[in-house]
Symmetry: C2
Subunit: 470 residues, 2 copies
């Protein structure tokens, strides 16, 4: 399916939304290039003085500002001085964990899990998850995030919040083998009941926690269910180098090899982190039967002092998409995907010892099309193009910190900040306009959350939802 | 000189400015601890529901919100939900280089200098520097920066801009030995003429460029002048590991050893970057006769793919202060010291392989007292305390990305952003209020700068101000 931006004659019905005067980030059609290039960033371009016409939740056309201005419209946005980008996608998070932001600071991974996060999560109620999800969605909408892949507990409440606030999401109910068969069954039940919800904005995944908390048998059963029900799998794997080494010592196989031998790689799988992916894993990933993608959340890897980051250059060399993510705010301290975009570029340059690698254009490609493909929305999100849902953000570049503009991609990635997003649109609906949230009431969420926090963070009971022991 | 916060009887004259309802970051007096601890972050605390009273440009008292509210005042700020911090200090920048933001992307250091920056700087006029400085000051004030250490050309115009916009600055006229004796003389002339300017807000330094562009003889002469005139020295040294290795190969000495043998370390010296500082340099720095400090600007080191970062842990172990910096926007892409604060914490954790190192409290200590001492203002800036100039910022923590607050230091360093600074005050004068700049007109600066850019960035002439050849 190929669409081309072109002026269209004004139809009788007013457009739902017309945005005028912005510069638009445009992706060339994949089919317009003859060969695959890992440096897909080159396929981006910017169209100045453009107009975007939205009808029925979708982009009707990308045209000139002048042509768009002439169209009747129910709602208009004058976006001069702004850049329209596809909405950012948070490819791996635990949104409700914003309630724990700052609770477990400066700790090694094992203590972070065993001494704080998993004990606290044993107190978690559906109401905590709901409030956390509302706060998280508010934060993400304000940061220009239109879609997130969430992997957590009590996901029905997260799905309800997504429906209510207008975002798009890939949702999965997390489980450990320690929960017995019930964990997996609930994950499937959730995925089947809620997929396609919220007018199609909700997609679902099976969500085993990780190869170190889910047995091979359960992973194999999950892969079977994923194939039977055409569901993707979203899980943590090879999060860090220690996990890979422990896996080799215990099982004689890397986490990726375990995903391979349990059939998980024959499904469409979204792997969180992968900083422990080794060279020997690359041929395994390259021959995977399903669509494999990795989500990178570089801030947390630095904060946990992990020795490596996601090997993006190696993954791109075998055609694996790498989407951007923040992980949960209990480790990352924010859900700021814009920061993840900049950090991915910076950390990858330093890791590869190559300042020419992971340019701003490449970073934008990770943030848009690759992230969309990573969450299974390669045909839906990630591009501003006719026929696609209108999931986009308007970024104000008039601030002194983003001027002058010698290189627009560099300005966006390295100078602009998430706070420069003025307007966030999902499915044609404006969720934030001029920095004002239109679908969420943050003060009321915070009032109730504050009251609940003392009970939520109580750890005197000595219990935990799971033990970290890779 | 010791001051204690205490309620004071209202004097007859109204206060110039009263800020009420904020939480204030307070530093314990150095003398209140018996021993030096490298982990100086522990000396920070937060006083909630406070009031700050400003008279004659200085903090008159830090008291309760209630006591402050009862005082008559010419100007009031209701700062409930906000945190008052000492204004951030950019310990090493080339402010006017914002004009080149994004012009030299994804290049190795040598090409960045030789192919773009130094050719372009040969076109530089005083008017370009003036416009760049205005834009840079606007960006910094909006980012909560109250003071910057600038190292550039045509510094009289920068001093004029500092006087006009109300910031505080340590200014030095840069020179290379390739300019002959004149370069050094102009640097001295500037430093003597402008120090103490702008009601004392301007301090000055001698500013040789670096040991690889300034001869040992010129460094020795600079050290002599610094001692004779009681001026500090601000220069680049051991910027990266390559420079140190080339210095060893060419001169048999590291850049730090060259600073030692030329007498520069007997002056008060501010060393930019120092990512090439080796273990053998530590005893040299430890026995330096003057006050030695290092400015770290971690973003650029990642972007240039340098293999190391500033060795903060080693420097702290010998008592060297490490201030935060952004370098120029041509490499860093912004003057966002807040980002430098967060990145310093993240990068240092990863570099040291220790998640417990460089906590948020330590990062705040680097951002405040250590940065103040690094720019020679240890008795002036860096603390909100009675008798000190009122250089402070108010940070709004009501946004969803900074809630809830389990650990205020972590919220400030890892969740808040420079865009959360609502108000910036220097010497008691409000330079930004509720995100509105009060002393600079950005649109008029940008209009003129845009017209001048084509001439500024022209590189067809083949000239350059200097050649990078370490």
């Amino acid at each position: 399916m190929t669409h081309h931006a072109q002026p269209q004659p004004p139809p009788a019905q007013p457009a739902d939304l017309v945005i005028t005067g912005c510069t638009v980030l445009v992706h060339e059609e994949a089919g317009e290039r003859h060969s695959f290039t890992p440096d897909a960033g080159e396929r981006l371009s910017f169209t100045p003085d453009a107009g975007i016409v939205v009808r029925g939740g979708a982009i009707a056309s990308v045209t000139t500002a002048e042509a768009a201005a002439a169209l009747p419209a129910a709602e208009r946005i004058d976006a001069r001085g702004q850049v329209a980008l596809p909405g950012l996608i948070n490819c791996h998070t635990h949104a409700p964990m914003v309630a724990l932001r700052g609770l477990a600071e400066d700790l090694p991974t094992e203590e972070w899990f065993n001494d704080v996060v998993w004990p606290v999560e044993s107190n978690l109620t559906a109401r905590d998850v709901e409030l956390g999800a509302r706060l998280a969605c508010a934060e993400m909408i304000r940061a220009g995030v239109t879609c997130f892949a969430d992997h957590y507990f009590a996901m029905d409440t997260v799905a309800d919040v997504v429906a209510e606030c207008g975002m798009r999401a890939l949702l999965g109910q997390a489980y450990f083998s320690s929960q017995g068969r019930e964990g997996r069954e609930k994950s499937l039940d959730f995925a089947l009941r809620r997929r396609g919800g919220a007018n199609g904005r909700i997609t679902t995944a099976l969500a085993p926690h990780a190869p170190y908390t889910v047995t091979d048998a359960d992973l194999a059963a999950t892969a079977e269910l994923a194939r039977a029900h055409a569901l993707p799998v979203h899980l943590h794997a090879a999060e860090n180098r220690d996990q890979t080494e422990h896996s080799l010592a215990r099982h004689g196989a890397t986490p990726v090899e375990i995903l391979d031998r349990t059939g998980v790689l024959d499904t469409d799988v979204l792997i969180a982190h992968g900083t422990g992916i080794l060279d020997r894993d690359l041929p395994v990933l390259a021959r995977a039967g399903g669509r494999t993608a990795v989500a990178t959340a570089p801030r947390g890897y630095l904060k946990f002092a992990w020795p490596t980051t996601t090997p993006i250059r190696a993954l791109r060399s075998i055609g694996v998409d790498v989407g951007l993510a923040t992980d949960g705010a209990a480790s990352n301290n924010s859900l700021d995907v814009w920061e993840a975009m900049a950090l991915t570029s910076l950390v990858q340059k330093q890791t590869e010892g190559d300042p020419r690698w992971l340019t701003a254009r490449q970073a934008l490609h990770h943030a848009t099309l690759q992230s969309a493909r990573a969450v299974g929305l390669g045909e839906t999100a990630g591009r501003i193009a006719p026929g696609r849902p209108a999931d986009l953000v308007l970024v104000d570049l008039t601030g002194p910190h983003t001027q002058p503009v010698h290189d627009l991609a560099a300005t966006l990635v390295h100078s602009a900040r998430s706070s420069d997003v003025r307007t966030t649109v999902v499915d044609g609906r404006v969720l934030m306009r001029d920095r004002q949230l239109l679908t969420l009431d943050v003060p009321s969420v915070l009032r109730e959350l504050e009251r609940r926090l003392p009970t939520l963070v109580e750890r005197g009971h000595g219990g935990r939802v799971q033990t970290y022991d890779t």
